[in-house]
Symmetry: C2
Subunit: 229 residues, 2 copies
DNA sequence: TTGCGCCAAATAATCGATTTTTACTTGACC
DNA sequence: GGTCAAGTAAAAATCGATTATTTGGCGCAA
């Protein structure tokens, strides 16, 4: 019992920490995971790291190649578009269900989580993405779907969204994208949702998801060009 | 290189075999998994078994309880209804997408897989569920959704369906359910799908899924009654 | 010079044993 | 008679080391 947390297993802690590093973009998509570095860094045995990484592979955040190790999951543009399409279909469906079935408590939660999101700056003074914003953003989108009455459906949506977040750090450059007003997008989604405007809210959410991907694809293509140039 | 297969890792083999035993119902929902038995039975080390079981937990087929081991995932009736609802929503959506987007090759695949299913007896002469039928059934449902153009969406649907299959063996008793004509249900789904009747096919698939769950719930409640009696 | 195959270092996979935690049993105390 | 607690047995988690596989480099031959 050396650390602050004593109730979880080591594998769980390592899983959580690596997951965090994946989702913050500290570990870049495509880069190989050196298990030995984790062994030293976390002061645990290889078995523990293996279990953590295996679980992350199950989540779709890490790619496992038999006999060849693990790497941060890297998507081709085609796969990214596929993921986006699946997310749009599933998230909009879950949102529609929420709007149909959601209770007043759910409405309140949506308003609350949007308020928190709206009042959390996206960037820190240093110009990097604010971790609090990431959490608030995640919570907002989760809350939107939490009225659908199916934890399974919600879980699937959350899992897919996490995969998209792998590229979040790449959107950092796009945070200055002046063709978008992300705060406004969130506000629109929140308001239409609470107003129980199913079609409107669904359309707004779809736009929101697709715009992020579009920006990402644009960024990836620029990067590819400058690489070949 | 002692076994017949030499190209996969041991953990993968053990994963496949345990998964098979889970889906055939040989390992009953709720029963604890004795890792040591697997160690002896498969002649591998504990690490290998652990990795396999951890992956199965990620698939939702096994429940992992920290410090308390693993058990075959067991669902309450409430959870089973939730799972069914999520399956209906996602599978019908994928089917609708397939009907909208599917190519002629997909149509052909649907017809082919239905033909194979229709000509595979559900029970062996002994009265047990035929493994070939299980495979054909799985293939048929997968093929139905394979025209949707999103491997992600298809993957999610397949994963959820696998969870339902944990209770397949319990349906064995229900195979004689004379209120249903399962072959007819499959034929209807296949025909409406190929006819591109979106609403009809979706409704037929929904019925098919919900009937299986309803039978399962009936069975579970009977079992609960006879247990308390 | 180029291509093929062999050797060595690095990395992944697996193993057997140790440590830690939980579950059960037994016995004493209330 | 019932409850709680200490002790014991079982099982899970973790570790350190061994074995197998891949990767990259080197030499040899065409």
């Amino acid at each position: 019992m050396t650390g602050p947390s004593a109730k979880t297993t080591r594998a769980q802690e390592v899983y959580d920490q690596i997951r965090d590093r994946l989702l913050t973009g500290e570990l870049e998509p495509g880069s190989r995971l050196k298990l030995n570095d984790f062994v030293e860094g976390y002061g645990v045995s290889l078995s523990v790291v293996r279990e953590a990484v295996t679980r992350l592979a199950g989540d779709g955040l890490v790619q496992a190649s038999p006999q060849r190790g693990f790497a941060v999951m890297s998507l081709t543009i085609e796969q990214l578009l596929d993921l986006t399409r699946a997310r749009v279909l599933i998230e909009t469906m879950a949102l529609a269900e929420s709007i149909k079935l959601g209770t007043v408590a759910w409405e309140a939660a949506v308003i609350a989580s949007h308020h928190e999101l709206a009042n959390t700056p996206m960037l820190t003074p240093d110009g990097v993405i604010n971790a609090d914003f990431t959490h608030a953003h995640r919570a907002f989108h989760d809350t939107l779907l939490s009225g659908c009455g199916s934890s399974r459906l919600q879980g699937v949506a959350t899992e897919l969204r996490a995969c998209s977040e792998l590229y979040q750090s790449w959107s950092q450059q796009l945070a200055h994208d002046d063709t978008r007003d992300i705060a406004c997008e969130h506000r629109t989604i929140s308001e239409l949702t609470v107003a129980r405007d199913e079609d409107g809210a669904v359309a707004a959410l779809r736009d929101h998801i697709e715009r992020t991907t579009a920006a990402l694809v644009r960024y990836a293509e620029e990067a590819a060009e400058s690489a070949t140039a």
